[in-house]
Point group: C2
Chain length 336, copies 2
């Protein structure tokens, strides 16, 4: 692996430097070719920079005491947070000081600042947040948009479909990924105008392996490689999935308190059940990418712990290594 | 219980009379005060009407050979399916021949025909499909709209909130149910225009116990009694929940095939796990109601089996007994 530099917004997310800094140190130790630029409040970052002699030469801290808050509107963040840690990491990617950036902060702001500073790829109007989810069939499904755009017209959904197809092709080495539109039914008459019109656009695009509409219960079946929806639906769908997984494990554990035999058995079996649920744990799939930009921008869950944050760092590294934006751009040229 | 008559679309859904007729006979045997009018193709219904001497006086068959198909657009169904089994059951409610009707057919058509034939309650523009889902806190959550309206403006979402609040109040005897709007974040700036505007309308309504936005992962937490969204989001959210439950049980079972000890334990524990998952089984929560109409209209899952269909029948009976439309109408008068 060639040397890579990651610019990391140390302040974003619910936990800030308490999680982002230890995760960075772990990633640096794991990956000897990685350099990390930690951007944020030096006084809040420093307490976590202990015992770092072995990796001292591979990280730097850029101080800024301004942050984008969770309640900043995207336009406000763009206009008023010129010295924020989030903006700085994106500027580093734009100016060539870093190969990728990562933030656990405000998604709308990350999207708005990235779009203005990095610009979208030719043919793409709006970046989308794409995530990789597990399925029953042991191959992942790529879902976009997971929350960067709360409303999308049919042309935007079409562009998301093209980007999703290219990402799956590039990352999974899947030559002809199937692409579906998330809808309330599989019949042509179903859905709102945006989805129906996007379906027509995709039917007319021989370079996309469009397989029609898909319903919510099929997301995790593995029947489609790429699923497209607007960011409002995508965000709620993803979070609902997390909620139901938690709900079921709570019910399972509660059920196991009934009866002595079941209680005894549960002690033996519970670790196994938890390991299964962990495969579904969003932390293990942490990190969604803003695709459609001229640079790698990865978004971590706001409430990521160290393990989850490290996974998001790994995702940013992988995308930078594979030069994902350039690959998407090349494929887009031939499709659009 | 007073005598009640249910008009049942025997042809709707994936399984038609094969499921709807046996479920009807079971419901009749269970409930001596119930009468059922089976509407549909006599030749397809008859084969399932065996050994019915004990309940012969409490069901009738009204023959019609026209059906609403799953690919009929709502407007087509309304215009062209004048003799359909779906329309007939709604006409029976309108004309006083039945106290409630039930169909497992095309949701959009059921909504359109019900709206035109039964009319909406004063102050309500569009009926909504409301369902009752389980939560971690052992009280149900009412979610609407589950798919009757694929796009909704803020005023419609507001009306749904009012109806949901009244349904929860009436059915659960909850004097001040908390009502939330499903959104991509809890901060005021989050979401699309419709949700934000609906939030403002609800803030200004002291008679609704509005508790703000709620995210997908909180749906099953029990933190809100009523959750409001448009039918596109609601339908996908509900089906995603079903999908993830199936996904997890498949993973659990697969995991249990690894290792002799785990395999042995799994035989003892699997029935317990399945019983827990069954609490979440959509069949046990089958039946969603079209609320906001001047009559009881219940929609069963299209792929309901006999148990699930019987649950939908029970729901229709309960709502007719409690005279839900009249109660909603009374409460609406004081709120709107």
């Amino acid at each position: 692996m060639t040397n890579l530099t990651l610019a990391l917004d140390a302040m974003g997310g619910d936990n800030g430097p308490q999680v982002s800094v230890p995760a960075s140190l772990q990633a640096l130790r794991f990956n000897p070719n990685l350099k990390i630029i930690l951007v944020g409040d030096q006084t809040k970052i420093s307490p976590y920079l202990t015992d770092t002699k072995d990796i001292q030469s591979r990280f730097t801290v850029i101080h800024t005491d301004e942050v984008v808050t969770m309640t900043d509107r995207p336009a406000q963040a763009l206009r008023n947070r010129k010295n924020s840690s989030m903006r700085k990491v994106i500027e580093l990617v734009r100016d060539g000081g870093a190969d990728a950036c990562l933030s656990a902060g405000n998604t709308g702001a990350l999207m708005a600042i990235s779009k203005v500073l990095l610009k979208t790829l030719p043919g793409i109007d709006r970046p989308a947040l794409i995530g990789r989810l597990p399925t029953s069939s042991n191959k992942p499904v790529y879902v976009l948009d997971l929350g960067a755009n709360v409303s999308c017209d049919s042309e935007t959904l079409f562009q998301f479909a093209v980007m999703g197809s290219v990402v799956c092709e590039v990352v999974e080495q899947n030559k002809s990924p199937t692409v579906s539109l998330l809808n309330v039914g599989i019949e042509e008459i179903k859905g709102n105008d945006q989805v129906q019109q996007a379906g027509l656009l995709l039917q007319e695009s021989p370079q996309i392996n469009y397989s029609g509409f898909i319903e919510g219960h099929e997301i995790y079946s593995g029947s489609s490689d790429v699923i497209v929806c607007d960011g409002f639906v995508g965000n709620i769908t993803l979070k609902t999935s997390e909620g139901i997984a938690k709900f079921l494990i709570a019910r399972l554990k509660k059920g196991f308190t009934k009866g002595i035999i079941v209680r005894f058995l549960s002690k033996l079996v519970t670790p196994h059940i938890e390991s299964v649920f962990n495969q579904m744990n969003p932390d293990h799939y942490n990190g969604a990418s803003l695709v459609g930009l001229r640079g790698v921008v990865v978004k971590s869950h706001g409430n990521a712990d160290k393990v989850a944050f490290t996974n998001a760092i790994n995702l940013a590294v992988t995308e930078a290594q594979r030069r994902l934006p350039e690959l998407i751009s090349e494929r887009l040229k031939s499709i659009l």
